[in-house]
């Protein structure tokens, strides 16, 4: 029962008063940061890094980790309430979560978000505890060709994501990819599409596009709808989930957790992909796919669980291999270095109390978050009933400041305004923004993997088919594409017949 012993050791570390205190501070700050659009966990962790110098290593890491997954919780809150993704992984939550809020079900959305995330956190913590090393090795098998195919699968699922016209969804995805390609090319170091503006040499930031297309656009559109805005706040029907909602959501949570845990291990944005994948998956297997996009609770439950599971499992490559899977993990690695800890395979052996202490505290942190967030739901919903004319300037303000604090660059604000304009156009043209965001994130990664895989195979495209993982992904993607297109084509044929 080595696992049990290890867990006991871990909880022993995690449940000391000082570690609990800092865990709480971490998740509190994290939630706050997640709620504020723009300011992300990365910047916050960097700011708080100096404070951790004088702490014990475990305590420092616990606090920093708490900020990270606390921010995931916070990001969902704004996604549901004001259609603003606080974190890139909350983009999907916007789709149905916001619709639920408009129908007066904000409380339920927030509740299932918190509960689903907690469940996912528990499961993924157990996964880490039991299976960290083998999972990490599995992650390593993902070479560039597998990554590419995974991205293709992800993009195809982005098309599934859209509820409207398929052609438009594809167009949005492509546009997103193009936008994502702005910046310096990895393989050659040359700047593309930057029009000579050096602020663009690192590409357009995700937050900037999200703020513009989601945040600003939403405000403009809402103002257009006149008094209709007030309606849904009056209709708040209870803060909790109904039994039916619970029953519908529970399996979604389970599926989301599984998917998220698997995808989170992959270095390089696996956690992001997990929420999108979970949403698409739910939609595809649902008996009632048309309700997605209009406030289906599964559409909130699955992505939320997935992104929390992904966030936790993304610790695995760092803790077991010493490889950070995303910039936040890189920061954790830096924090470890400052405390003279070498992340990597040796940690489990040399410093078990660190490893297990962190794992146990992840669970504790999740618990704290649920306990802390659930009562707050009432407060958040109350916030919605503030007259909009007071609320929307505040929203714009926080977006603006959030964008500015990314790089202390007012250029970013102007850029976001541009995207706000584009977002408005999109709404008028009935094009959806979510596929755009997905293309934006996955496009560059896809291109990078493609070129790298071809570079390694010396230009041989068969590499995508010979690698077993890659092959599976591609088959799945083609199948998914087929499933998506078939009905549309058939419908067209039917229309023709009818005529």
């Amino acid at each position: 029962m080595e696992l049990l012993n290890n867990l006991i050791l871990g909880f022993g570390v995690a449940l000391t008063p000082i570690n609990m205190a800092y865990c709480f501070i971490g998740v509190l700050v994290g939630t706050l940061v997640g709620v504020l659009p723009g300011l992300g966990p990365l910047a916050t962790m960097a700011m708080l890094l100096p404070i951790t110098f004088n702490m014990a290593p475990v305590t420092a890491l616990i606090m920093l980790a708490g900020i990270y997954y606390g921010a995931q919780y916070g990001g969902s809150t704004t996604a549901i309430l004001v259609n603003l993704p606080g974190e890139s992984s909350s983009v999907v939550t916007c789709i149905d979560g916001y619709q639920m809020a408009r129908q007066g079900r904000a409380g339920a959305a927030l509740a299932i978000s918190a509960l689903g995330s907690f469940f996912a956190g528990t499961v993924s913590t157990m996964l880490i505890a039991g299976f960290a090393p083998p999972l990490a090795d599995l992650a390593l098998k993902f070479g560039p060709s597998a990554y590419f195919s995974l991205m293709v699968l992800g993009l195809v699922s982005a098309i599934v994501l859209a509820s409207g016209s398929i052609a438009k969804a594809i167009a949005m995805v492509l546009l997103g990819i193009l936008l994502g390609l702005v910046g310096t090319d990895v393989n050659s170091g040359v700047a593309r599409f930057t029009f000579g503006i050096s602020e663009l040499s690192d590409g357009v930031g995700f937050v900037i596009v999200a703020m513009g297309v989601f945040g600003f656009t939403e405000v403009i559109v809402s103002l257009e709808l006149n008094e209709k805005r007030e309606v849904f706040t009056k209709k708040v029907t209870g803060l909790w989930l109904t039994k039916d909602e619970f029953k519908a959501a529970a399996p979604a949570v389970l599926r989301g957790t599984m998917l998220g845990s698997m995808l989170g291990i992959l270095p390089g944005g696996g956690a992001l992909l997990s929420s999108f994948a979970a949403y698409s998956f739910e939609k595809k297997i649902s008996k009632n796919p048309s309700k997605f996009g209009k406030g289906a609770i599964e559409g909130v439950a699955a992505p939320e669980s997935a992104n929390n599971a992904g966030a936790q499992t993304s610790f695995i490559p760092l803790l077991t291999l010493g490889i950070p899977s995303n910039p936040v993990m890189a920061l954790m690695m830096g924090a470890m270095m400052i405390h003279n800890i070498q992340p990597g395979p040796q940690i489990v052996i040399n410093q078990p109390e660190l490893f297990w202490g962190m794992i146990a505290s992840m669970w504790v942190g999740n618990l704290m978050l649920v306990v802390f967030n659930l009562p707050l739901i009432g407060m958040w919903v109350k916030l919605l009933s503030v007259p909009y004319r007071f609320l929307f300037p505040a929203i714009l303000l926080f977006c603006g400041i959030g964008i500015y604090t990314l790089s202390y660059n007012t250029f970013d604000i102007y850029l976001a305004v541009l995207f706000g304009f584009l977002g408005y156009l999109f709404v008028k043209l009935e094009c959806e923004a979510a596929p755009l965001m997905l293309g934006f994130i996955l496009g560059p990664m896809m291109e990078e993997s493609l070129r790298r895989a071809l570079l390694i195979s010396r230009g041989d495209p068969a590499v995508f088919l010979t690698n077993p993982i890659s092959l599976c992904m591609l088959i799945a993607a083609t199948a998914l594409l087929g499933i998506v297109i078939m009905p549309a084509v058939r419908r067209k044929r039917e229309d023709v017949f009818v005529e």
Binding site: A167, R192, R389, L396, G400, I401, Y404, T410, V417, F421
Partner: protein, 126 residues
């Protein structure tokens, strides 16, 4: 009549490592044309009306926020943003807007600069 825009769908792809972008760009143009043509041929709902005033005011308020932030500091920037943005709303009362903007300005200064220690200039730099 639909007004499917193929405008940005056809940005010229730069040279250099342009293989991928060109491919994507090409696909985008194709789809854009497809949607556009379909829009012309099939009878669909017309595009929703554009409320230019709201659009302009909101976007201008944010852009001005950026501008004033750089030169006049956070406090003034917030005032600008909130007042102009409020004009984009429906019930605009100047006095109300000023009060709210002052509160928000003070609040954000307190929150962002003092509590979170972000490096944002508060006052104009002369």
């Amino acid at each position: 009549m639909w007004m499917a825009k193929a405008f940005s769908f056809g940005t010229a792809a730069r040279m250099g490592p342009a293989y991928f972008p060109t491919v994507i760009g090409g696909m985008l143009v194709t789809f854009g044309l497809f949607i556009g043509l379909r829009g012309l041929v099939v009878n669909g709902e017309s595009v929703g009306s554009f409320h230019f005033k709201t659009l302009f005011l909101i976007l201008a308020s944010i852009a001005l926020f950026g501008l004033t932030l750089q030169y006049l500091g956070l406090f003034c920037a917030v005032l600008t943003l909130v007042v102009i943005a409020s004009m984009g709303g429906h019930e605009f009362k100047l006095r109300e807007a000023i009060i709210i903007s002052a509160c928000l300005a003070a609040g954000s200064v307190a929150l962002f600069v003092f509590a979170l220690k972000l490096q944002i200039p508060i006052w104009p730099s002369f």
